[in-house]
């Protein structure tokens, strides 16, 4: 992707800068009725404050500051989500209000009360809407990570916290994304930990973020634009990247394109989530 293309896409997209979203006020108070399977210290990684370079940025602001937080080491599993729906039947398949989830909600489970075999229980849960993911995290005293938080941790390879300039690492991500297949996601057990001790950021499923819908195109309140829908711009930019000479940013384009295609009610088989918190829970 050359500089001209980069600035073209940047012009189409207003973004990130300056504001790490305040954690939603509603999340903090709810405590889990669920039994914690392991000690908190082993299920979440502390992520110190840091900076990352977002894919889309307003000119002049190349790096975004992210405050210290904690992130689940692994995506939420089917087994953990099954416990959640048992404790909160309003989130069970067949019961969930349609405003919160499309009809394919948890559709790959054998039934509303069974998430499958012992092996299945250890897979990342998928087919969950943003609303359901948000409710799960609140129920365990956590919240969804912001897009900035998620991307900060996603920039880490096994050995470096910031591998964003590492071409070999990016090529590996591309291969991981390309290797994803429809159907049940692979087991979490075989995924390596990155430099934060967090696993499976790239190799398993796409993941919800709290503000997945925060990428705003130029047809917004502050700029005149073509008046087209946001997704058109996103897809245009993503496909432009494919043909660009420098594809090292393509993993990020892929993630942003997926987010741009989601709505809060989407229940896609390849989308799961993990939770975050201001402090380890």
């Amino acid at each position: 992707m050359n500089d001209a293309m980069r600035s073209f896409c940047a012009a189409l997209l207003l973004t990130t800068i300056g504001t790490t979203l305040a954690p939603a006020t509603a999340l903090a108070t709810v405590r889990a009725p669920l039994p914690a399977p392991r000690a908190a210290a082993t299920t979440m990684s502390r992520v110190p404050e840091g900076w990352y370079r977002p894919l889309y940025s307003v000119a002049g602001a190349r790096r975004v500051h992210v405050k210290a937080f904690a992130l689940d080491r692994i995506p939420v599993t089917r087994g953990a989500f099954l416990q959640f729906v048992q404790a909160h039947p309003q989130w069970a398949r067949g019961t969930v209000l349609r405003v919160f989830a499309q009809s394919r909600y948890l559709a790959d489970w054998p039934s509303a009360s069974s998430a499958g075999s012992a092996v299945d229980l250890e897979r990342p849960v998928t087919g969950v809407s943003w609303f359901a993911a948000k409710a799960y995290c609140a129920a365990v005293g956590k919240r969804l990570p912001t897009l900035d938080e998620w991307e900060l941790v996603a920039a880490a390879s096994e050995s470096r916290r910031d591998a964003s300039g590492d071409g070999a690492y990016r090529r590996r991500l591309l291969a991981l994304y390309a290797a994803r297949k429809p159907g049940a996601p692979p087991s979490i057990a075989n995924t390596p930990a990155n430099a934060y001790g967090v696993r499976g950021m790239h190799g398993l499923v796409w993941e919800w973020t709290l503000d997945f819908n925060s990428i705003v195109v130029a047809d917004d309140s502050r700029a005149s634009g073509s008046g087209q829908d946001a997704r058109d711009h996103h897809l245009f930019c993503a496909s432009a990247a494919i043909g660009a000479s420098d594809v090292t940013d393509f993993p990020a384009f892929a993630r942003y394109a997926v987010r741009a295609g989601l709505t809060a009610r989407s229940t896609i088989s390849g989308v799961g989530f993990r939770c975050a918190a201001d402090h380890p829970v």
Binding site: L14, L27, R98, V99, F131, S221, R222, R265
Partner: protein, 201 residues
């Protein structure tokens, strides 16, 4: 709306959140049920596109029956207090018989924007970037039409007229025959599309 969905299988009002209106009164979303509504998310300090959106909604107001309600939801709950909303309504002559202005918590704003598929981001203490979307809800809160971008709202006027003469269902949303209602409105809308220029109602 997603492909294959009628938009009528769920009600926005099922979000269950409670807001404050321009009179400072607590407004559970479900209190909007009972009449069809056109809903937009704006903020009153926005000087670029929000005035265009509000102007288009005033045009909708003039061209539709009084049973069609118009709802402005603030994306900036910090600054858009009920007093500020009342002042804004007075400045723009948004009368309470047709217009409801709402402010809510950040979390409730995020949920409503998410379910209306409106992308937005706070850029600073004073600025938000957001998509401009007009959404038509039936009397039960089901989405029957969504228009993104700044464009004339003739389609919304036609749909709003059709909804306003359709039988009003009891609220909140019952999971009964919304599909049929949608189909009826939709077909009337398509048929009406060939009509001449819109006249004031």
């Amino acid at each position: 709306m997603q492909p294959g969905e009628t938009g009528s299988e769920y009600s926005i009002y099922d979000l269950g959140s409670t807001w404050k209106d321009q009179a400072g009164v607590d407004r559970p979303l479900a209190t909007l049920a009972g009449s069809p509504r056109v809903i937009a998310m704006i903020y009153t300090h926005c000087s670029a596109t929000c005035p265009i959106t509000v102007a288009e909604m005033k045009r909708i107001e003039a061209l539709t029956p009084p049973t069609l309600g118009l709802v402005l939801v603030s994306l900036d709950g910090d600054r858009d207090t009920p007093d500020r909303l009342a002042q804004y309504a007075a400045e723009h002559r948004l009368t309470p018989d047709r217009w409801t202005l709402l402010r809510g918590s950040d979390a409730d704003v995020r949920d409503l924007a998410a379910v209306l598929d409106i992308r937005y981001r706070r850029l600073s203490a004073t600025e938000l970037a957001h998509q401009n979307v007009l959404t038509v809800l039936d009397a039960a809160g089901a989405v029957v039409h969504r228009q993104a971008g700044l464009a004339d709202a003739d389609d919304i006027v036609r749909i709003g007229r059709a909804l306003s003469v359709a039988p009003i269902r009891s609220a909140p949303a019952a999971p009964t025959p919304p599909v049929a209602l949608f189909g009826e409105v939709r077909s009337r809308f398509e048929w009406d599309r060939s009509g001449g220029p819109l006249k004031p109602f």
